[in-house]
Amino acid sequence: MPTPSRYWREIPQRYRFETNQCTKCKVKFFPPRLICPECKNQDLQKAKIEEKGKLLTYTIIRVPPHQYVDQAPYAVGIVELDDGVKLTGQVVDCDFDDIKIGMRLKLEFRKIYQEGDSGILCYGYKFVPE
């Protein structure tokens, strides 16, 4: 089991959607980076990602990794937010039949999984219909 620090240091982006962007070409990253892969600029500024976007692709996970066994089956997709940032996450609060590529979704703060009975409760974002 990983140490709490591995989980704790990702909290700004996972809980509060904080990230950064390039001051030159304005590309926004998620998660934050130290150098812009487009123009190699290291002068970056704080930014927040948009919390709404559209579904680019998705799949239903029926054979999950061990920590998600009690959640399966569940949907995972890649969403392109309105600022162009793309991120991976679960699509929840709707039937599988209602999930369509191109549908509008928004980010919500949710519990992701639990590291056993006495382990860390892991939180982050999931996508729900807008």
């Binding site: 799949t59 990794p65 995972v76 590529i101």
Partner: protein
């Protein structure tokens, strides 16, 4: 740069191999390669292995395997780029011989995946994806390639039937491969060198190696394998070849959609036309450009770190005319494409019979 050729290969039947340890599998296979090449002395070794640490709890296998092959003190190094580790090991062996630093290098790919249970093996394979921003959300490797497939179907109209045809074709080929077995477990090895031997010389004429983001969501186009495109472009340039010059090709079909996307990225077919090409039989054994005559990863098996070297063994045998029932007629130029993760690493080689 010196010319480099594959002078011998060895591969044992892939399977679960409960009775054999990683070092045993390696030595048995390496001895086959040394015998095939007719050499008893090597200058150097490279071992491609994705995760001997997670699969058998053993790191530092480069020296361990050199020791059990009776080759210490030759220099030996293990290299890793997820499922492209075998292809990378070959690249380094090629460079070492081309540079003149060594004459004979033993290149191997190995993975022993049945010494841990299924959950642990799934976890080990999952470490090839972005653990913090993909794995954290419950995505798996079949899941990542499903995301590519869904996007490809949406964008280009590729059908489930076309995806299935990739598997059907590869299993048809694999049925003719005596070393193929569905449950994975392997040993592969090969020796390169620039010396003429009795068998047809299979020269390495092109090589390309490139990277891409490992997180799928960070890519501009989810259906496009940029690292494979870049590696292919460099290999074509170095070899002075074009896609239409390739007679036989082994690609990394870890999932059916992968074979379709790889054919597009290597310019074998136009962007978006991969599904239709399979449906029309272009890539069948008797087609215009046979893809995965060995049965591919789908039918031959995929002991991750070993795959890249096994692909090169298949192409070497095809160019030597030693592929039996699955021999591609008049094959003179062959290509291999090996990739790691959901395409974040890619290694491409081009071979030509002299």
């Amino acid at each position: 740069m010196r010319e480099v050729a594959v002078i011998g290969t060895g591969m044992t039947k892939w399977g679960e191999l409960w009775e054999k340890s990683l070092r045993t599998i390696f030595v048995e296979t390496a001895l086959l390669a040394l015998k095939d090449a007719g050499v008893d002395k090597i200058d150097s070794m490279y071992v491609g292995s994705m995760s001997s640490g997670l699969f058998v709890g053993q790191e530092h296998i480069a020296s361990l395997l050199a020791d059990y092959l009776g080759q210490t003190p030759v220099p030996s190094a293990r290299v890793e780029t997820a499922c492209a580790s075998g292809g990378l090991a070959f690249k380094l062996g090629f460079m070492e011989v081309a540079s003149g630093m060594s004459d004979v290098v033993l290149v191997s790919g190995i993975e022993k995946m049945t010494d841990v249970n299924g959950h642990e093996a799934t976890f080990a394979l999952g470490t090839a994806a972005d653990q913090e921003y993909e794995g954290y959300h419950g995505i798996t490797f079949p899941g990542l390639y499903a995301l590519i497939a869904m996007a490809h179907m949406e964008k280009y109209g590729t059908t489930r039937e076309q995806l299935a045809m990739v598997a059907v074709k590869n299993h048809k080929n694999g049925a003719k491969n005596p070393l193929a077995q569905f449950p994975f477990e392997i040993t592969v090895d090969m020796v390169l060198n620039s010396v003429m031997v009795a068998k047809p010389v299979v020269k390495v004429v092109g090589m390309g190696h490139a990277t891409d983001t490992i997180a799928l969501s960070s890519r501009k186009d989810i259906t496009w394998l940029e690292a494979t495109y870049q590696a292919g472009k460099r290999a074509y340039e170095m070899a002075g070849k074009k896609p239409e010059d390739i007679d036989v090709i082994e690609v990394h079909d870890c999932f059916t959609i992968a074979e379709i996307c790889v054919m597009e990225a290597l310019g074998i077919v136009e962007k978006g036309k991969g599904g239709k090409a399979v449906e029309e039989g272009l890539t069948a054994l008797e087609g215009k450009i046979p893809v995965n005559a060995s049965g591919g990863l789908k039918s031959k098996g995929h002991p991750v770190g070993a795959t890249g070297v096994a692909q090169i063994i298949e192409i070497t045998k095809q160019l030597r005319g030693e592929s039996g029932e699955r021999q591609v007629e008049n094959a003179k130029v062959g290509m291999t494409q090996n990739m790691g993760g959901s395409g974040g690493s890619a290694v491409v080689h081009i071979f030509e019979k002299e």
